[in-house]
């Protein structure tokens, strides 16, 4: 299958190119913005010698091009550098936050898809009906909610008024074994719910419109003409095709879920990567920022690559175009 192999190689190459570009863009973006990284490394009260020594330690005294080359070679060795502020490898800092982010983003994604598919199907099969309009308005309203407002409201109601959910954090102190998982699950409910609320709409709307198109395609008309019950046409035939574009959403939403959940993580005091990024901005911690951006970019690029490849293998028209 030479065409297929060529397609895969081309997509892989493009993924690598995109990654290199992302490295370069973030590197220079950080350095060219106002904001002196030397300030993050060295205190203004320090002696000049110590200041110079610190700048040398972090390689900040060398020309930008040299720093860039150094960063690239280190990156190829899997070294993301050392944090300006925490005296720890960037990778360790990110890995400490990553499990929480994966848990939050993963659970939000699963719930969203689980709710989004049936809602999208209902909306599409009853297009322009009252239920369809309700679902549309509901989904879009969810998307437009301002997370901090809704977050404090939920915390107040479930944490203070009913007292059934904990306020902030990812787990309680000193809980072990099964109790630890219970605690983690309880802490997860509200932040997960908030994320589901804001992203459910895009899944429902995308699925709705692709499904409407799919239902109008010849094969569905044919299936119906053959006397297949409508329910089967929708779930067996139309949905299968309509789901493909929806899966690409997953890849694209990933970046948002992982890095863009800053407000969610702040309001719920959840120790995820988004908050780490926000704090790193406040501390001018360039290595951490850059590491986090690259990690997110990498995740999105890989997710896109996988969906593209899946797409290409499933739909031969893509390969040849």
């Amino acid at each position: 299958m030479p065409a297929g192999a060529r397609f895969v190689t081309r997509r892989l190459l493009r993924g690598v190119l995109t990654m290199w570009f992302a490295v370069t863009v973030t590197f220079f973006l950080l350095r060219l913005l106002p904001g002196d990284p030397a300030l993050a490394v060295a205190d203004p009260t320090m002696t000049d010698e110590l200041r110079a020594e610190l700048l040398r330690d972090y390689g900040l005294d060398r020309p930008l091009a040299v720093q860039y080359w150094e960063y690239l070679t280190q990156l190829l060795h899997g070294n993301l550098g050392v944090s300006f502020r925490q005296n720890q490898p960037v990778l360790d800092i990110l890995l400490e936050r990553l499990p929480w982010t994966l848990l939050l983003a993963g659970s939000a994604l699963v719930v969203t898809v689980a709710l989004g598919i049936p809602l999208g199907v209902v909306a599409a099969t009853r297009a322009k009906g009252t239920l369809d309009r309700l679902i549309q308005v509901g989904g879009i309203t969810g998307q437009s909610l301002f997370i901090p407002s809704i977050g404090v409201f939920l915390l107040y109601v479930f944490g203070v008024v009913f007292g059934i959910l904990p306020i902030g954090g990812a787990m309680d102190d000193d809980v072990y074994g099964l109790a630890a998982y219970g605690s983690i699950a309880l802490h997860l409910i509200l932040p997960c719910l908030s994320l589901v609320l804001v992203q459910l709409g895009s899944y429902v709307l995308t699925l709705r419109s692709t499904l409407i198109d799919a239902l109008g395609e010849d094969y569905c008309t044919l299936a119906r003409a053959k006397g297949l019950p409508n329910r089967k046409v929708v779930w067996r035939h139309a949905l299968r095709n309509a789901l493909l574009p929806t899966t690409t959403l997953v890849g694209l939403q990933l970046g948002f879920l992982v890095g863009g959940a800053v407000l969610t993580e702040s309001i719920y005091a959840y120790p995820g990567v988004g908050r780490a990024i926000f704090e790193a901005v406040g501390q001018l911690d360039f290595p951490v920022l850059q590491g986090a951006f690259l990690m997110l970019a990498f995740a999105v690029i890989v997710a896109n690559l996988l969906t593209d490849l899946a797409y290409g293998l499933l739909d031969p028209r893509v390969r040849t175009s």
Binding site: T47, R97, L98, V152
Partner: protein, 536 residues
Amino acid sequence: MRTFRRALAVAAGALSIGLAATACSPGNPDSQAGGGSGSADRITIGTTADVLNYNPLVGNSRTDTWVTNLMYPRMMSMGMDGVRSPYLASKWEYTDGGRKAKFTLRDDFTWSDGEKVTADDVAFTIDAVAKEKIGVVAGLISSYQKSTVISPTEIEFQLSQPDGTFLENVGFWMPVVPEHVFSKVGSVQKFANDKDWVSAGPYKLTTVERGQRYVLERMENFPLIEGGPKTKEVVFRVFPDVNTEALALRNGDVDLIANALPPPLAKTLEGDSKLKLVKVPSLGWAHMQYNTAREPLDKLEVRQALAAAVDYEAIRRVALQGKAVSSNSSVLTPTLKQWQDPSAKEYAHDPAKAKSLLTGAGFKDGNGDGLFDGLSLRMIYDQADPNISKWAQLVRDSSKAAGIEIKLEGLERNTYVEKYTARDYDIYAGSWAIMENPPANLALAFKCKGFINYANACDPELDALIDQARGQLDQAGQKGPIQQAARMITDKVYDNVLYVEEFTIAHSAEWSNFLVQPSELLSIVNPVSVAQATKG
């Protein structure tokens, strides 16, 4: 270690809860924990930020201070009016006409690894600070030459000139670090001190989970509390949003909030019977400083006009909700009763006077828009400070009424630091946390090229007064020249002191026995207070 295990368990749990629960569930390192043996197993303290630096000599954020204060002793502690009291040191005195200063230490402090806390640790610490010029302490001990360890409990310092501020500066500002740990790290300033902590305060840091919690364990033999600290474990929990933090306090997830509450929040919590609010006076002040190195702020009339355009009363009543007192526009605040100048009088809020001063200085309103032409000033402040960003708006609006345009630049912390370090502003708005020792502080803040001289003031007459005060060894002798200097600062508008805040700290009503100390950095999270607090 525990952090990693927990992280691992979470990742595994996300995949398969059942399997992970047996395979790699977070282990229980301490079999007694969570056993509920009595009322005070743990006190949970809320904070809004992570620890940035565990090195007590370098770290300077509020959370850094709260945590490291519990771990590293200082020579002196401080009473409500800023007066020093013994901590690690039991006695201190000047000899040789102020050219020598001496501390006598307690002999019952021990580092957590079993070594005694001795005068050698003190000598090592002050030498490191002086040699590497570490932080604000280095600026406060400029007269330090060398130290002599007389015995394990006695140390004497040689000073370059008589300096009556030296002992109090070293005593209160310099945490003592263990020589046997810090001497092995090369540069002390660069040492991160982020694991295997050795401490001699009431608590010792044991576990760090960034973004979540900092766990400190009791040091049984802490000598200042009979029988050791009452509570076994202190946990600092991080809540980036103060609203969430307050909810956690209200539902009991948190026992105490370390950061001062924004005044409107303090007002709403007043009625909650499950909470106790503690009033803590500030040792500093909130102020604006006009950059005298820039036109037209080099003109006294312009600075006076700016001072007359501020509605001080409204700032305290509305923006601070009455949780602040006037300092009568003097840098000698009412908290420091022994320094206060009774003749000080606050600048009057008088827009008409401001206008006439500016007209006198040659400013005109040619285009009739109600604003003087060519008088648009940039005011920088830290946008994360809830009080300043509120009164900055009041200052802008009331100045506009006096024909002065002020453009607010509420900056993100680092940009703010960068700008004020470079003195790149017309007006600087900020606040001092602790300015408890006027002769020492005024030198840093107002002498020519002073480290924190944000007005860029350079007035030989003022410098002479401050130096004269520093040469005196007792407060009685320092008071005269200091009050004169303070009056000059007010008259020349080198500093516009707006108010002295009265912080509100909230804790659960189940806890009692806290010891209140002044300033947000000490308040009720100072080491003795946390160690002696009891529940129920």
